[in-house]
Subunit: 345 residues, 2 copies
């Protein structure tokens, strides 16, 4: 069905070996082909619409020109941008194989298995966090010798490069900004299922401690660990607002670990007539796309997911090409965006 080297060989009366060399212009060095032969072959290839069967080529060359990209989710715009950054950087020389695990460790495993079966040249992965798969990552790296670059979070026990934004800095700067506005009772609204809660908690904690607000530190954590759909967020936002309203010495500001959750809190406040930022300042932590919109204008801490994707891809391509000098992590800077949900107390 598809055109093969053999067909071109028959067509031109040359051998398969010659055709192979001629098509890839490999006449230099050890081997030489007459210009005439090269022309004949390339014309025939063009006319027949020949396209290398990369599967076959990969069998001998031990390079598939495919890269596995395993991301956590595909809603919101965070991973979308990471993905865009990766695709931009590696295509068209490399082809990304896409997998989305949605924090399901079984899915993660089978997607990684698939990548290995396809013998990808490299892997960019957002680790789901499930410890059952750590050994699999180790196998990929150490047995299959596939270069791996992680985004967002490290894998405990494995020394793999991680590309992420400065999560510590996000929380630290957000908290600091609120402190600078005169707030003292600042609470961190967090959740187990969110990304890197440790870094965020650490940044918040450090900033509060440095300001001497240690006694006001409070981390509001949700028991929900999975299925953060719109409904889950809404429910959590309700609970947060409920408990805030009944308290005597209310927090004057929230640092919310996730902009989407922050939106729900804003909506909840709106419904109950709680004025933001009059009664309560709200600061998000990841500057999702809608945050900057008229009508929303959530103060947040901007990160650059497309840069994460870009850096991860660059890092990986270097590894694939043997430039293993850069085995280190990359932590990308963040920037506070003060909009209309935060104010001086």
């Amino acid at each position: 069905m598809a055109v093969t080297l053999k067909k071109i060989a028959e067509e031109t009366g040359l051998s398969v070996a010659t055709v192979s060399l001629a098509i890839r212009g490999k006449s230099a060095g050890k081997f030489s082909l007459s210009p005439e032969t090269i022309k004949t072959v390339q014309e025939a290839a063009g006319k027949l619409g020949y396209r290398t069967n990369r599967l076959a080529a990969s069998l001998t060359s031990s390079s598939t020109k495919m890269v596995g990209v395993l991301i956590a989710a595909l809603h919101g715009d965070y991973y979308e941008k990471i993905l865009a950054g990766i695709e931009q950087e590696i295509a068209p020389e490399y082809t990304p194989l896409l997998g989305v695990h949605n924090y399901d460790s079984e899915r993660e495993r089978s997607l990684l298995d698939g990548f290995m079966c396809n013998r990808v040249d490299g892997l960019i992965a957002a680790f789901s966090g499930s410890s059952e798969n750590i050994e699999l990552y180790r196998t990929i790296r150490e047995v299959y010798k596939i270069p791996v670059v992680l985004v967002d979070r490290p894998i405990p026990g494995l020394d793999l490069p991680v590309i992420r934004c400065d999560h510590f800095g996000q929380a630290f700067q957000a908290t600091q900004t609120l402190l600078d506005l005169g707030h003292r009772r600042i609470h961190l609204v967090s959740a187990v299922g969110f990304l890197n809660p440790e870094y965020h908690q650490d940044g918040y904690f450090q900033a509060m401690k440095a300001a001497g607000c240690r006694e006001h530190v409070k981390i509001i954590t949700s028991p929900y660990t999975k299925g953060w759909g719109k409904d889950g967020l809404r429910k959590f936002a309700k609970e947060v607002t409920d408990s805030w309203q009944v308290l005597e010495d209310r927090a004057t500001a929230f640092v919310v670990q996730n902009d989407w959750l922050a939106y729900e809190i804003l909506a909840e406040c709106h419904e109950r007539g709680i004025r933001v930022p009059g009664d309560l300042s709200v600061m998000g932590l990841d500057d999702c796309l809608p945050s900057s919109m008229v009508g929303v204008e959530l103060s947040s801490v901007a990160q650059v997911p497309d840069e994460i994707g870009f850096e991860a891809a660059r890092h990986l391509l270097n590894s694939i090409n043997g430039h293993d000098d850069e085995n280190s992590d990359v932590i990308l800077p963040v920037e506070v965006k003060t909009r209309k949900t935060t104010a001086r107390i």
Copy 2:
């Protein structure tokens, strides 16, 4: 480096053929293997961490279990959701190869070429619209016999199934909704680079005509065809608002072909003190994610991109498996979401 059948054969003292059959459980029918052999082989495979080299397997089976996914862009949440729908449906049996053409025909060509080199089992594509590549699509379908499913828009001259939402209905219903609210001078804000302007214009036109508002039909079109970044949208929104303000018999409502452009128009109105919906009703046409948010609440016409992805994937899988009964288009219904930017005049 990687474990091969040969290695397992050596380990177990059996032949490569036996090992191949045993691993895939192909002892039924013509061939039979003793349960003992099967057990031996599978244990050895497990212990050595064997993973089929799908490249090699694909060479003979002429099925790669890979599907090319060519999308137009990766910002906003439209294609992201399509992609999510596709991935959900086809993984993990099939692996999506991702390509983003950004309406660049050269890029589109090289990505399609790559897919063909990888001998994908099928292709889901958002056609860029550049006529230079039509022949390539024809080759893919007719020479390489690769099943193709299109999303969003058809390719002129090729009879390929298209999965899209009801673009005509979007514009028709949006216009009708405004007409029902008493509006008569309704303008369509459109742009060449946007998706399927013909359908949208048609829907708008028909609704206006049916209501006898033919003399008020006005399509405001931008000369920009590419690079619709935030800046381009902003600039266009400014122009639209400018020309609206100086007019004597202003439109009382806009149907805006793209929610992102609608947001910019809202922002522009906000700045100039034009009240929406008091002075002007604004209706979007694709219900992007932020449209429903508190503070934005743009009236729009909801579509279901994840359904598009899902349907496209289902359609493609059917084609791959030879169930070619469904060669028809799928047009998914849309739904008017009346929020706070439209009102009775």
